[in-house]
């Protein structure tokens, strides 16, 4: 089962929930956690496992072969991203703008633009007790997270059996990286906080999940602050709230040190158990 942990807003506790839930589940289940927030992956700061594999990740970009090129201009003409420009007598490629659509390469009549790999980031595979953890990090200056997110999910699918619970710590927001991280998920957990910012961004995230036709539920973090708008809204819209993680300074302090929380705060463990029960029930119900 693939479960994405997402939220419209940064800082609501996606990584806290992802890492604690993954560690807790791994006590009894086969679990792999993926950090798909490739711009700012933070799960690895809480899961300090043993590195068992590392590989560079690439996207494909065209490379100009001067000797073959007749400067016909087709490549510049077919590129919708201004990633390839003809400045006679040269063709210049701008890798950050390239979406790897292959149009320039395959429509070049002289085969003067073969696609070559360009490094965009790095994938690391860790083992921590019984938990597997995959983290990808986008190189600074690379602007496109989507290809790296897609490749990270592919790696996980190739290396882990279908009966493993796959957790995806997703990037914040509602734009393409989030879509890429959640579109293959069987189930999405939306993390929010009971404040006007949290509520506003939760509604955006719900809208996104509805557009993707995803089944989802809500976890309220920092429960006890703010107001009841989130709770009232979920009740009205019949959206299940499967856990409420209490607001506490102690949790903030443990988090700041990069520690897992559930072993030290019993209330958090209880809430994780509620999420686990919900997930296992879904799996038994044949939703995979």
């Amino acid at each position: 089962m693939k479960i994405a942990i997402a939220s419209g807003k940064g800082g609501t506790g996606k990584t806290t929930l992802s890492t604690n839930l993954a560690a807790y589940l791994s006590e009894t289940e086969k679990v792999v956690l993926n950090d798909l927030d490739v711009e700012e992956p933070n799960s690895g700061l809480f899961i300090k496992g043993k590195l068992i594999h590392k590989e560079d990740k690439y996207k494909m970009i065209p490379e100009w072969i001067e000797d073959k090129c007749t400067l016909c201009g087709i490549c510049q003409d077919v590129c919708n991203y201004n990633a390839i420009v003809q400045i006679d007598p040269k063709i210049i490629v701008f890798p950050p703008l390239c979406h790897s659509c292959y149009a320039c390469s395959e429509l070049c009549p002289e085969a003067a633009l073969p696609m070559v790999p360009k490094k965009i980031g790095e994938l690391k595979h860790f083992e921590y007790n019984k938990l597997s953890f995959i983290e990808s990090k986008l190189d600074i200056g690379e602007e496109q997270a989507v290809p790296l997110i897609a490749q990270t999910q592919k790696y996980t699918d190739e290396h882990f059996s279908d009966d493993t619970i796959k957790l995806y710590d997703s990037p914040p927001g509602t734009s393409c990286p989030v879509i890429e991280a959640t579109k293959d998920a069987d189930f999405v957990i939306l993390v929010t906080e009971p404040t006007p910012f949290g509520f506003h961004d939760l509604k955006l995230a719900i809208e996104t999940m509805k557009a993707l036709k995803k089944e989802f539920a809500v976890v309220v973090n920092r429960f006890g602050i703010g107001n009841d708008d989130v709770l009232d809204y979920c009740e009205k819209e019949k959206i299940p709230i499967i856990a409420k993680i209490p607001n506490s300074r102690k949790i903030a302090e443990l988090y700041s040190h990069g520690e897992l929380i559930y072993e030290k705060v019993p209330e958090v463990k209880l809430q994780l158990k509620a999420i686990k029960d919900y997930i296992l029930k879904m799996i038994e119900g044949g939703k995979r």
Binding site: E143, T174, V178, K183, T195
Partner: protein
């Protein structure tokens, strides 16, 4: 006219609360922009009137004319984004997967595919409750090109500031280190980094600062929730020293931030104590760095 951009790398450090406080303190003297177009929140505190709105078009999306289509499948074969699945025997474009590269339209043997301009969001020009002009936007679900929308919001803000002889444009930046944040800080005169003393706060600060450094923009830093973890405050300060980043101030962990936000106020309205003093000083210090 100087441009100040507030970023954090990591979400939840208090970027928007702090930016809105500065906006409140400045009243009509500045122009404000919210460049977190993915999940804009500043309007919840500044209550802009959404007076003028305009659709934002960017990029294209493929559209297949089913009357012309012969189901040859060439389009799906060349599509690298798996955006043309077969549904009920017809080739259909999945708008959430299509990246608008136009390859399919170029090779369709019967010209059944056109590229249509996409509306990817809305942008607004507003007046806030304190009388300042505010530029903001909302990106459509799953839209690409948020970097372009960010650039547009910023350009408009600068134009309005110039035309009205305002000294400062204050911008709530985007999260992450990708295209939107690069767009947020391009051309800025000062970047304010808002961080928190935690492993992830420091990790993200270092990553996002590499971009600021590349653009050679002067930077300052506010450490929020500073009493949560003194050890990391020390580490952050060491990093600021090494990089020549101005340490603007420390703010204590204070639930008044949340309480103020819950009733739609900025912290400088709600808190009559230290927080307001520190933020007022911080804002003056930032402006001082630019004069």
């Amino acid at each position: 006219m100087k441009e100040i951009v507030v970023i954090s790398g990591k979400g939840g450090t208090g970027k928007t609360s702090i930016t809105a406080s500065f906006a409140y303190l400045s009243g009509k003297d500045i122009v404000v922009a919210d460049c977190d177009v993915d999940a804009a929140d500043m309007h919840l505190l500044m209550k802009p009137d959404f007076k003028e709105s305009e659709d934002f078009y960017s990029g294209e999306i493929a559209k297949i004319d089913q009357d012309k289509c012969t189901n040859c499948g060439d389009c799906a074969n060349v599509c690298r984004f798996d955006a043309i699945p077969v549904i009920n025997g017809e080739y259909i474009v999945d708008p959430l997967s299509c990246e608008g590269c136009g390859y399919c339209a170029r090779i369709c043997p019967v010209d059944a595919i056109t590229n249509e301009l996409q509306i990817v969001g809305e942008q607004y020009v507003s007046t806030t409750r304190v009388g300042s002009k505010m530029l903001h936007a909302k990106l459509s679900i799953g839209a690409d090109n948020s970097g372009k929308l960010v650039a547009k919001v910023k350009d408009e803000a600068k134009k309005i500031a110039k035309n009205n002889n305002k000294d400062f444009v204050l911008i709530d930046g985007s999260p992450g280190i990708g295209c939107p944040v690069v767009s947020s800080i391009t051309g800025a005169n000062f970047v304010l980094l808002v961080t928190e003393p935690s492993v992830s706060g420091l990790h993200d600060l270092k990553r996002v600062y590499q971009i600021v450094k590349k653009f050679q923009i002067k930077a300052g830093c506010i450490i929020n929730k500073s009493d949560i973890n003194p050890k990391f405050v020390k580490e952050i300060k060491e990093f600021l020293n090494e990089e020549g980043i101005v340490h603007i101030s420390n703010l204590p962990y204070d639930e008044n931030f949340t309480k103020a936000m819950t009733i739609g106020q900025t912290i400088v309205e709600y808190d009559k104590g230290d927080l307001t003093k520190i933020l007022t000083k911080s804002w003056n210090k930032i402006k001082g760095e630019l004069l």
